[in-house]
């Protein structure tokens, strides 16, 4: 930016392209993204069933939302889902990313296969796992095993963890890809020096790989945490929030309140909570990563 600005000032004659070039993008963005963002705040103070005209309701919807045991449980479930999901995905993605960064031929082939889940739609994944985890005709019969014959998606104690696993199936490839790219940027000299000093593999991983990857870790963590906060499609198809609300995390709570119970006011209040928590989380992690992240990555070299 700075360079471009300077150059135009030097040539000094033209102001550059006209503003009208940005207008189409701005109009789409403003009408269908910015206005709705403001709209959701306004609607959270309204009584609206989705059909008639919205009516002003003051703080009533907020009081109702914050007191609603279903929404409160959804908040707790969102916290559990986000945490467990992170604790599962992050190590797997890191391990796979490091593994994929190796130069052996077969690893390249494995990488090609790892990416396959990325091309499936959430609906396709949800339907597939529903059928695969069917207690009568799914995996349990394939291995004739009672252990696998659980009612995975019908058991309230298991469903959330199954959802975590299926979400990981979809997203681990993306994150291991980030880690693979990160690992490949680590200078080989660091490892050579460490090997000369007699450092073992684990020591190298702990003292070179992990610290060198810290910015990749922060990027990937932000995406995972903020992502699982707003995750809707797959869980909706897989469990619909059930059984008995066991997988009803906030985005599902919002949808079900709005488009099943026709209480758009409460649904909007839940949406506002989602936006605020998401932004706070994103900003916090961004702060953690520091402002000058690109320069400091090669520190000490």
């Amino acid at each position: 930016m700075a360079r471009a600005t300077q150059r135009s000032e030097v040539s000094g004659r033209t102001a550059g392209p006209p503003f009208v070039m940005a207008v189409p993008a701005l109009v789409f963005f403003a009408v269908f993204a910015l206005v709705p963002l403001g709209g959701v705040v306004v609607l959270s103070f309204m009584e609206w069933d989705g059909l008639a005209s919205p009516q002003w309701a003051g703080l009533a919807k907020w009081e109702q939302t914050l007191a609603d045991p279903v929404t409160r449980r959804a908040m707790w479930l969102t916290f559990v889902f986000t945490t467990v999901s992170y604790l599962f995905q992050a190590p797997v993605a890191l391990l796979l990313g490091v593994f994929m960064a190796g130069s052996q031929r077969y690893r390249a082939l494995l990488s090609v296969l790892y990416f396959l889940p990325l091309i499936f739609s959430a609906a396709a994944v949800g339907i597939t796992f529903q059928s695969l985890l069917d207690p009568n005709f799914g995996l349990s019969r394939a291995f004739n095993s009672d252990l696998l014959g659980q009612n995975w998606l019908g058991n309230p104690d298991l469903a959330l963890f199954v959802v975590v696993f299926v979400v990981a199936w979809c997203f681990v490839p993306l994150h291991s890809l980030l880690y693979q790219a990160g690992v490949r940027q680590i200078p080989a000299a660091l490892y050579e020096a460490a090997t000369l000093d007699g450092a073992g593999r684990l020591a190298q991983f702990a003292h070179i790989t992990l610290p060198q990857l810290r910015y990749t870790i922060i990027t990937s963590s932000t995406l995972m945490l903020v992502g699982s906060l707003t995750y809707f499609d797959l869980i909706f198809v897989l469990t619909g929030g059930g059984p008995g609300g066991a997988t009803r995390i906030l985005p599902l709570d919002m949808y079900l309140n709005g488009f099943r119970s026709y209480d758009m006011g409460q649904a909007s209040a839940v949406a506002v909570i989602l936006v605020v928590v998401g932004l706070a989380l994103g900003l916090m992690l961004n702060r953690l990563s520091g402002a000058s992240k690109m320069e400091s990555q090669q520190e000490g070299l």
């Binding site: 360079r3 392209p17 006209p18 789409f28 709705p36 403001g38 796979l96 396959l116 005709f137 198809v237």
Partner: protein, 274 residues
């Protein structure tokens, strides 16, 4: 990294295990979709089908699959074409204009990256109903464009910034206006970025589920991801047919993956590198 004596046992184990995790469901989709409906209840779910048949595919194709496919293509092509066009223009403006307005414009658009689409769905629904577009393909195209613009402008503007300023100067010296520079200089030189963004956005729109779920209703405007969901209701006991529909819905992207894996992968991670 290359010449380590001891192999990475843990990584290797995780690698092969995850391969299994990835492959088993995909293998299951394919073998089940090739099974006759009766055999689904009798055969081992992971065995190769004893009497492989394309019946399930025939059922799906006879049940409006082509219409849903067409709808998906229309929505994806329409949205992506507009996203690319408006984002390229906006990127050219914010990069090459030295005004404060250009800076503000960029800041405003980039703010959009932080807006979660899910959280705005209720006002978007209200808006679409109010302007009379509910249950049309436009209801899917317009919001998809809006949510595609921020990340596209981020990627394309980073690319346009690297076009040497001398090229612009020499075109101006030749008397070319901004509207001529855009198609003759900016467009061809930004092709790689447009490719990446196009692929990323196409996947987003193609696989999108929430907009179709909330903003459409009738089967005439149903797109593929939603059709999978409704096939599941229609065919309930015919699991092979449902999974045949899943297979058919993935095929177009699989074809793209096979042809242009590199572009697809860079497109997929486009929003995330940084």
């Amino acid at each position: 990294m290359k010449e380590q004596k001891r192999p990475n046992v843990l990584g290797g184990l995780a690698g092969w295990l995850w391969l299994l995790v990835v492959i088993v469901p995909i293998y299951y989709i394919v073998v089940t979709s090739l099974r006759p409906q009766q055999d689904y209840y009798d055969e081992n779910p992971l065995s190769l089908p004893g009497n492989p048949t394309l019946d399930a595919y025939q059922i799906v194709l006879e049940n409006e699959f082509v219409r849903y496919l067409t709808n998906s293509v229309l929505v994806t092509v329409g949205a992506v074409a507009v996203i690319l066009a408006v984002s390229l223009m906006a990127s050219y403006y914010v990069v090459r204009s030295a005004t404060r307005l250009a800076k503000r414009t960029l800041e405003l658009i980039l703010l959009g990256i932080a807006i979660p689409l899910q959280a705005t769905i209720i006002p978007v629904y209200y808006l679409i109903v109010q302007i009379g577009l509910y249950d049309t393909l436009w209801a899917l195209i317009l919001p998809s464009i809006a949510f595609g613009v921020p990340i596209s402008v981020l990627i394309i503007s980073n690319f346009v910034r690297d076009i040497p300023g001398e090229l612009f100067e020499s075109m101006r010296v030749d008397g070319a206006g901004e509207w001529r520079i855009l198609p003759t200089l900016v467009l061809p030189l930004s092709r790689p970025a447009l490719m990446t963004v196009g692929i990323y956005q196409a996947l987003q729109v193609w696989n999108g589920f929430l907009f179709p779920l909330v903003l459409t209703q009738s089967s005439g405007v149903r797109v593929l991801p939603l059709s999978l969901w409704s096939y599941q209701g229609e065919f309930s006991t015919n699991v092979p047919a449902v999974l045949a529909a899943v297979t058919l819905s993935v095929l177009p992207i699989l074809a793209a993956y096979v042809i242009g894996r590199r572009q697809l992968v860079s497109g997929l991670t486009a929003g995330f590198g940084k």
